[in-house]
């Protein structure tokens, strides 16, 4: 069974407009959730993580995500896209000792 689903494989936005990358998870209890970013030819970098302390999580580079248990979602947002945000984004759920990756969303930022 798929533990995490990223609904969009590609998202394209204009520079300066909002970003929304969608993620839904499946778990019988509240998991730990993460968003990672991977720039071309670079390693995976943690953007933010949800660990049940607060449902709205702020990360690096102006990104944030909101945990919504009723919707089993953990969507990633940013108010204003920057050219440097163009990258691949992965939603990850931790269940027990295992980390499950979504299939990724490729973000393109149009100047």
């Amino acid at each position: 069974a798929q533990s995490v689903t990223q609904l969009d494989s590609h998202v394209s936005v204009s520079e300066g407009t909002p970003v929304l990358l969608r993620c839904n998870y499946s778990s019988s209890y509240s998991p730990s959730l993460f968003w990672y970013v991977q720039h071309p030819n670079k390693g995976l970098q943690l953007l933010l993580k949800y660990t049940s302390a607060a449902t709205l999580v702020k990360g690096i580079n102006g990104f944030e995500a909101e945990f919504k248990k009723s919707e089993t979602s953990f969507h990633l947002t940013k108010p204003s896209a920057h050219m440097s945000d163009a990258a691949e984004y992965f939603c990850v759920v931790r269940l027990g000792g295992q980390f499950y990756f979504g299939t990724g969303t490729s973000l393109t930022v149009i100047p």
Binding site: S32, F34, G43, L44, K49, Q98, F99, G102, G104
Partner: protein, 114 residues
């Protein structure tokens, strides 16, 4: 060390050869993970160690793949009789104990099988 390191950064080999990929996790991290990432894909789980033992090796594709972590720190991923389909970036990550702790990733080893 400051982060997870992996060696070599690039490995080119011929079909049928044996290769070893090394991962040095962050000191004190008890959990270590191996993933494989093919071009345009997300990381695919291979194996996860908790200490010296493999807690979950269900992601290893077949018996040509094997990994060890004899002293609970450095890990080696071993691939026998390599095939062209094994070409990918092999990622290692480590994590400290605790449900809420994230993984820290190494830069990866790019394996090319000719």
């Amino acid at each position: 060390g400051a982060g997870v390191s992996q060696t070599p950064s690039n490995k080119v080999t011929e079909k049928g050869k044996y290769v070893e990929l090394r991962c040095d996790p962050i000191s004190g991290h008890t959990a270590l993970y191996w993933y494989r990432q093919s071009l345009g894909q997300g990381p695919e789980f291979l194996i996860y160690f908790q200490g010296t033992g493999a807690a979950d090796d269900s992601g290893l594709p077949n018996d040509r793949f094997f990994a060890v972590r004899p002293e609970g720190s450095v890990s080696t991923l071993k691939i026998q009789r390599t095939e062209r389909g094994d070409s990918a970036v092999y990622l290692c990550a480590s994590s400290s104990p605790g449900q809420n702790n994230e993984q820290f990733f190494g830069p990866g080893t790019r394996l090319t099988v000719l």
